[in-house]
């Protein structure tokens, strides 16, 4: 590699995190540590019915017997579950505020800084947002419009109160609490998150979005999202996240369950930009997320798109269970790691029904001293006649101190199913850089352009409102200079 490239790279690996500020606000927390009392405290704070508390306690007793899954290519110190706060709420949030006049102006200011205006006159056009600050949902925009269509979009806490039948039927139906230790943990202590129900035949006219922000120190965030798309319906859902800069590591263990009934389609997009830690690997979010979608009905479709640029550790495999005949699962992913970040991310496509199709496009970019792993499993079960999968995963290495790894598991038990898998790993192409610079682009611009080009197949899957943001984020993750 020539010296210019190295210089540019060095300037890139000094990453500056734009969302690292802390909001000074009084908060309310239980004692640190995980035990039945903590869970009862959370349940009480949320004013939950008895059955919900039981559900949580059952999950907790499972968790106690479990060990963290160890197969990922990650190394981090043992997590001390007794040294974490499991609930944190800005003071005065016993009840969700009815309107913004009840919300602390500091909070509104926080979200303005993050580019998520909450005031009525400024809300993002075409996007309904549910905003989660530490453990509680603080505001949901466009609620009324959605209600007219019968769409339910609220915090999961509210759904437990108002729609217990749906919750009882679907919560934990895709990710059983006993699946692995992080799902058990989340089931025991989840605090807030979003709930979406799209009624039969309704095409949700706007993007639904949740914005997660971890503010409080030493606080774990355990949100739970449940999206149900009834027959023939459609919804596109976006998730964004940030956290302040802190020297300690913070734990985030979310669970997201999607259910698509016959003919329904769910598109779930994430732009994950949690605090990644500093140049020396201090601090940053530990992101252990379980996301799973069930294509329960015929002709249903679930599509995951993720742009992962943040977190010290990312452990995340948005998956699809393709149960309904002709159902479709998709996974589009860009994962960028820099400095000491570690990412082990990918997907799992389980083909159960006939004629099911899945597509995986994964782009990994490693810089600095980071480790970036794609891990994916595609399996065709006996009955998955004529199922098809296409997988493409490409990795780009920038600098010679990082690692890029590809670990696909491919399992076919059906002789009419076809699986195609391609992967490649290479460094950034010097000829392309030369070409761009010959046309007058600076070295930095050239790298950013080429990397964005490399990610294009994924970025173009994002809804318009997010695509431009994501492109910028990709460039920022590379250069660290804030525009």
């Amino acid at each position: 590699m020539n010296s210019d490239t190295l210089n540019t790279l060095n300037s890139y690996s000094i990453n500056k995190y734009k969302y690292g500020f802390v909001t000074e606000i009084d908060d309310e927390k239980p004692k640190k540590g995980l035990n039945e009392d903590t869970i009862k405290f959370i349940s009480l704070k949320k004013n939950e019915p008895e059955w919900m508390l039981d559900w949580r306690l059952k999950a907790y007793s499972k968790w106690k017997k479990m060990k963290e899954p160890k197969w990922a290519n990650l190394s981090f110190p043992e997590i001390d579950y007794q040294d974490i706060y499991y609930y944190s709420a800005p003071k005065g949030f016993e009840k969700k505020p009815k309107d913004l006049s009840e919300v602390d102006p500091k909070l509104i200011e926080t979200y303005n800084k993050l580019g998520i205006p909450l005031e009525e006159q400024k809300v993002l056009a075409g996007v309904a947002v549910d905003v989660v600050f530490d453990s509680v949902s603080v505001a949901t925009t466009y609620k009324g419009e959605l209600e007219k269509l019968g769409i339910i979009f609220c915090s999961i806490g509210e759904a437990i109160q108002k729609h217990p039948d749906l919750i009882k039927k679907y919560l934990g139906s895709v990710i059983p609490p006993g699946d692995h230790s992080f799902s058990a943990l989340n089931s025991a202590v989840f605090t807030d998150g979003s709930f979406v129900y799209i009624p039969e035949g309704v095409k949700c006219p706007m993007e639904l979005s949740t914005y997660f922000r971890i503010n409080a120190e030493n606080t774990g965030q355990f949100e739970r999202t449940l999206i149900i798309a009834d027959k023939g319906s459609y919804v596109s859902y976006l998730e964004g996240c940030t956290a302040p800069k802190r020297d300690d590591n913070q734990l985030h263990a979310a669970n997201v369950e999607l259910i698509a009934l016959e003919g329904a389609e769910i598109k779930y997009s994430t732009v994950q930009n949690w605090y990644p830690g500093d140049e020396d690997g201090r601090g940053g979010i530990y992101n252990f997320v379980t996301k799973r979608g069930l294509c329960a009905g015929k002709n249903s479709k679930i599509s995951w798109t993720q742009v992962e640029t943040g977190s010290a550790i990312t452990w995340k495999y948005p998956s699809c269970i393709l149960k309904g005949d002709n159902s479709i699962g998709e996974f589009y992913s860009v994962a960028i790691t820099n400095n000491f970040q570690q990412a082990d991310t990918g997907t799992k496509m389980t083909h159960i029904g006939k004629n099911t199709k899945s597509k995986i496009i994964s782009k990994g970019i490693s810089l600095g001293k980071s480790q970036n792993t794609y891990r994916g499993e595609v399996s065709f079960l006996r009955k998955a006649d004529k199922a098809r999968n296409y997988t493409q995963c490409d990795s780009l290495l920038v600098g010679n101190q990082c690692g890029a790894h590809t670990v696909p598991y491919i399992d076919s038990k059906n002789n009419t199913a076809v699986i195609e898998h391609e992967a490649s790993t290479s460094k950034i192409n010097e000829d392309q850089l030369y070409y761009c610079r010959q046309r007058g682009l600076s070295h930095e611009e050239a790298v950013s352009l080429i990397v964005n080009g490399f990610c294009k197949q994924v970025l173009q899957e994002l809804p318009m409102e997010f695509a431009v943001e994501a492109q910028k984020l990709v460039s920022i993750s590379l250069e660290g200079s804030v525009g």
């Binding site: 610079r437 010959q438 007058g440 490399f454």
Partner: protein, 246 residues
């Protein structure tokens, strides 16, 4: 002097490619270089553009009163040097339009000119493209990706006409073009030609020089220019090959 190459010797991977090469180009002149395969023509073009793999053993290059070796690749481009590549590289996922838009604006920035906005740029691009017989649909594609050999060459000339360089180096832009395309491309070049800019045209065929009239023709063999003269040299080469120059 506009471009002055003095006593240039260049090496790559322990192989001497250019050997004491001299070449002067004045404003408004068209020069052609002909030479057998492997004689070092593309190497010269790349050294001018600033490609970094080469080791400069000796000599100097002066371009518009700059020591060229003080400028990096993009600075040379911004100063008005343009290289139409012999083998343009594919850059998947990078869309042509924004790519060229940033290119032209980086040049304007350096020249302290106002940046050109989206809309006027789109207009400019469209009109230049249609001049060169390039389909508008092609402008939605990624840089060179999946282009045919001839399309790549045409697209190089499109970029040239947008960036409007002071010195354009065309490295075998004629090869791979069908006869109609050759006509369109050379028309494009001739339109661009003024008394203030210069061309360095690398080619194997006299044909191209029928369309673009060079002021000088140089014969390059084994890393040096062995003969210079007018277009009559091209005719000589066409007839007898390079044998007698070696």
């Amino acid at each position: 002097m506009f471009l002055e190459i003095k006593d240039l010797s260049v090496k790559i991977e322990n192989k001497n490619i250019l050997k004491s090469l001299n070449l002067n180009i004045n404003k408004g002149e068209v020069h052609a270089i002909m030479g057998p395969n492997g004689s070092g023509k593309s190497t010269l073009a790349n050294v001018l553009a600033g490609k970094e793999d080469y080791e400069i053993l000796n000599g100097s290059i002066n371009f518009k009163d700059n020591d060229l070796f003080d400028l990096n690749i993009e600075e040379r481009a911004q100063e008005g040097m343009f290289l139409a590549f012999q083998y343009p590289v594919e850059i998947p996922g990078v869309n042509i339009t924004p790519f060229l838009h940033s290119a032209i604006n980086s040049k304007r920035k350096r020249m302290n000119e106002e940046e050109i906005d989206n809309l006027s740029f789109a207009k400019l691009l469209k009109s230049k493209a249609s001049d060169l017989g390039i389909n508008i649909d092609m402008l939605k594609r990624s840089v060179n990706t999946g282009f045919s050999g001839g399309e790549k060459k045409r697209y190089e000339i499109l970029q040239m006409s947008i960036l409007n360089p002071d010195l354009a180096i065309l490295d075998e832009t004629d090869s791979g073009l069908d006869i109609d395309a050759l006509k369109i491309v050379t028309d494009g070049v001739n339109k661009l030609k003024t008394k203030d800019n210069s061309f360095l045209i690398i080619t194997h065929y006299q044909k191209l020089l029928d369309y673009i009239k060079p002021d000088y023709v140089h014969v390059m063999v084994n890393g040096s220019i062995v003969k210079s003269g007018g277009s009559e040299i091209a005719a000589e080469i066409e007839k007898d090959g390079f044998q007698k120059f070696q």
